[in-house]
Subunit: 212 residues, 2 copies
């Protein structure tokens, strides 16, 4: 297992106690999330696009249309920052200044590469579906050549990556502890509502569990 | 109410039916979210930082420490892309290619400015707290001069902004409709778990509702 050390760029500057750099922590956060935000530069301006990602070993993957501007820009040599954020709780303190949030986030920097070996590409597509819906890939109509061609898959090594985590309750100033207001955590969680079957679906097919 | 028209930069390129440009739609998505991802450029590289934001009229606001790199970089004239993403459902189709997600997202481009008028700054801080926890501001120990000084508030007009929305079920190819697999929507929702009072909190204080 690779142990990555923070570069000057990924070192958490402001709240060093919140910085966590071991790769197991980074993997854990990445595996708990589904949506990432990918920052890249287009005509000198930052652009942040939400998309899904998945991790396999020490790399992070995402996909897009081969016709998308993001994919084209990145493959033209663009640098990328891929950020994953999980909001766990609101942290309510006795003064506005100490209000905060509990969260887990990962920033990963790099230059992605195209997964263009057909076998590797198919394996990556399978990995994306299976990560979200274990067992589903083999039940689907397999992708055809046109669909595989229209899908671009990018991957980036988790070399320059860092995690930032906040846990625990509010940290108020001592002299505020008796201020007459509620303080504590308001935890958040993503849940699944009941599945909605597609119109025309034959009976007898069961939905998979919802990844949250 | 300002009607913004898509520039070449904000026009949704790939799936034009998913692009929604009216300002009411953009406001609605911004008001439904709490976390944004802010892309900016540091030493020629994109950096994407999660933070909270709030909207007031036709501007979006966020805050940070006056000592933070993000705030300093942006105030040195940096361009920003602020992205908000709300994931509503997984969309499961009969083939991997047509799997998708229902979501609402906003991208907003601009050059933020510092809110430095003391009265406007205090009003913005109040707006941030009240947006999340209505009525809470007046129950808190008021911010002192040092706390106000240590807080930087940025704002950006919603001029170059666009929304992207997907709704509805999977769109499979006709010839796949009888493929023997479940297809449909797996809706997602963020919920609040029971509040956790801070250690040492006197009884008699009630928690506010959790913003989800």
């Amino acid at each position: 297992m690779q142990q990555n050390s923070p570069s000057e760029f990924t070192r958490v500057k402001r709240a060093p106690t919140r910085g966590a750099y071991d790769i197991a922590t980074i993997h854990g956060i990445l595996d708990a999330g589904t949506v990432c935000h990918i920052g890249h530069i287009v005509d000198g301006r930052p652009v942040v696009i939400p998309t899904f990602y998945w991790r396999h070993e020490d790399r992070v993957y995402w996909h897009g249309s081969t016709a998308s501007r993001m994919i084209k820009t990145i493959l033209a040599g663009g640098k990328v920052c891929l950020t994953v954020t999980l909001l766990d709780a609101w942290v309510l303190a006795r003064t506005s200044f100490h209000h905060s949030a509990n969260y887990r986030s990962v920033l990963c920097f790099g230059r992605p590469v195209l997964v263009d070996d057909p076998e590797e590409k198919l394996a990556a597509m399978r990995g994306f579906v299976e990560r979200l819906f274990p067992g589903r890939w083999d039940t689907l109509r397999p992708p055809n050549a046109q669909e595989i061609k229209a899908t671009a898959i990018l991957s980036m090594p988790l070399i320059e990556a860092s995690a930032k985590i906040r846990t625990g309750g509010p940290i108020d100033d001592k002299e505020d502890m008796d201020w007459p207001v509620w303080a504590g955590l308001l935890p958040l969680r993503t849940v699944a509502d009941p599945p909605i079957a597609d119109a025309g679906l034959a009976v007898g097919h069961a939905p998979p569990a919802t990844p949250t």
